[in-house]
Symmetry: C2
Subunit: 395 residues, 2 copies
């Protein structure tokens, strides 16, 4: 683990100071003179912020760095899923190479941790997971990757998937995924009962994709609440997207939020501009853990996205109608501490593990909208990126 | 006017060819050998696209290039308006310097035309307009600026404003603006009757800000329809924002759209992610002229925005749920030909006036999401920006 003396940084936007890292841990904050044998970096008065966290992405899907993928297909969820499953390898989306590109891009932009859903289906078995696992090993010390075993193509409608998920959880996937028990699987009881049984068997938490909007999504949430309670999985369940919480019924949403808070269910948002998204502020005011992710970037589903959690903070901020400096700070917290809360990261934050990024901006709010490269990214006390470039090149 | 031979460009994304400009006009497209006395530029196989058009912005408002403006105020439209009017000069938002920065930024990113609303109120009289007029003169040949005389603080609630608008239209403002006749002025009949009388008097068109959502905005639209018809102003009215067209009633919106199409009213959108915005596709399918703008950027209202119409195309595209290559091309058309349709620009498009930008991308869709600087921007046959930098420096 590394030692480093970082001069002239503003922790969380406060007054400029210095920071000493010993053995990968922040040992001292304050004005510090040179320390024998410790490398010195000048922070140039940049803001120091804990490592950004992409708590909902898909490392196995991007076409980043490949030739442009033309998309002339209809915008139907089921069609997107099937097209991808059937064509991804033929198109050249190698899960290891592409997850390397995606994860290196995130590290270059200041991220220290990733939660990635990775597709598991009978067509590919665990090969996509293995590709991302290879990336995880290669990037150890650069960025931490948590893998969600994700039945993208459905569970009940894709026989053989349940057994593959079981296998994936036995071989290193930390979290169990799920997807639209009504919309995709057409059998909410079937999928949810299977997921909960598997999660209990492996002692893992669940993070389910829930695109189901309005009353349909609310119904699925109620089924989830019942099972979280029955299985004692309070604090071990997360709902990604949660579009139903963006529906236009304040009281109904309020009752769902009350249960989510009571059961300590986490919510992950992408701030999707064309969907009904939950209000980040309303969730936070209810005491709910809220993280965020860049989701798929430039994949067969759609062209949008950057491997950059500051960019995602702006998407979330704009979608949530944020304008004030305090709001912009909240957007930044969602893509950092918020993700750590969801992933239950230990030792996260300024004061313990030396995982952080410098941000270029006069103030924290300015840094969010500034679109400047990250001057320096540090992971475990080691410089892993500088001026927007990671020390590991994209393959 | 300039002559220029541009080699290796792909007009509108088609196969690579060359382009000869004589006297500021496109004279020939095809493989062309050197022409005596004509400067040669190599386009590097970039896409050639007509100059981008910011058809709804506020050049007089931005803090771009100034110290960060901290915003700790409540998010209420009337409060924003009053704060800005009372503090803008004290904060240092000089209308000439700031409109120069904003307009130069747009030109650097490939824009050839701007429609800017400029505030007119009893506090500032016509001073803000004069600042932007000075910018218009200085940037002649770099970017064209059309000015909308805009009663930002209201018309009926701000005595003296009507006379100032009258004066502004007599002294070089091309278009008459308006704002929320219900929401801001609390007197829809009063404002609209006054606006239409003034527009008829000066023979100008109107472009009104309509943030009013749902049934309130629909009501105001109906009042507008009556007056467009009564005054024979078909084709001479534009509604900016038109949030009411984003309301959740397909049939009601359909009836409004039918009238908008019949009266040839133009719609300007910013794709505001936290508002109910009109569906760009639905408007276009109804044959309505649709343009777009970046609106205010980094001003006292809010921190968002870039002086870049490709960036705005991505905001509009994401808000409208665009994913396919054809959809991305439509987003690009909205920020180019769409604006020209709204502003009734003559000689616009590849084939006439040599106002265009090169775009870096394998395909048109790729160029929209690519976030690359514009390799070359040409106005009237003259190179005005290169690799993201305008030949005129920001003051």
């Amino acid at each position: 683990m590394s030692n480093l003396l970082l001069k002239n940084i503003r922790p969380l936007g406060a007054d400029a100071t210095d920071l000493l890292i010993r053995n990968g841990v922040i040992a001292e904050i304050g004005r510090i003179k040179a320390v024998d044998g410790v490398t010195v970096e000048d922070g140039g008065n940049a803001i120091l912020w804990p490592g950004l966290i992409d708590a909902h992405t898909h490392l196995d899907k991007t076409t980043w760095g490949m030739d442009w993928h033309e998309n002339d297909r209809e915008a139907v969820l089921r069609s997107r899923i099937d097209f991808e499953r059937e064509n991804r390898i033929g198109i050249g989306i190698d899960p290891h190479r592409q997850s390397m590109r995606h994860a290196i891009g995130l590290a270059a932009h200041g991220a220290s941790h990733i939660r990635s859903h990775v597709d598991i289906d009978p067509t590919h078995g665990l090969r996509l997971v293995e590709g991302v696992q290879e990336t995880r090993e290669k990037l150890r010390g650069i960025i931490d990757i948590e893998i969600v075993a994700f039945p993208q193509s459905g569970l009940m409608v894709m026989p053989g998937t349940l057994e593959l998920l079981d296998e994936a959880l036995a071989s290193g996937c930390e979290v169990l995924g799920g997807i639209d028990p009504c919309g995709i699987d057409r059998d909410p009881k079937g999928q949810l009962d299977a997921l909960f049984a598997l999660a209990v068997k492996h002692g893992v938490s669940v993070d389910i994709h829930l695109h189901e909007a309005g009353e349909l999504g609310a119904f699925t949430m109620e089924l989830i609440f019942e099972r979280v309670r029955a299985n004692g999985m309070q604090g071990k369940f997360a709902i990604s997207h949660a579009f139903a919480l963006g529906m236009n019924d304040h009281l109904r949403v309020g009752r769902l939020i009350d249960e989510i808070a009571e059961l300590d269910i986490a919510i992950l948002t992408t701030g999707a501009p064309s969907a009904t998204v939950p209000s980040v502020k309303r969730l936070r005011e209810a005491g709910i853990r809220v993280g965020a992710g860049c989701d798929g970037i430039r994949d067969t589903w759609g062209p949008w996205g950057q491997p950059d959690m500051i960019d995602r903070a702006t998407v979330i901020g704009m979608r949530n109608g944020f304008r004030s400096d305090a709001d912009l700070r909240l957007a930044l917290e969602i893509v950092s501490q918020g993700g750590a809360d969801v992933m239950r990261l230990e030792g996260y934050g300024v004061g313990c593990k030396a995982d952080f990024t410098l941000l270029d901006g006069q103030t924290v709010a300015h840094a969010v909208v500034n679109r400047a490269p990250r001057p320096l990214v540090v992971k475990g006390g080691r410089v892993v990126a500088r001026d927007g470039l990671c020390i590991v090149e994209m393959p």
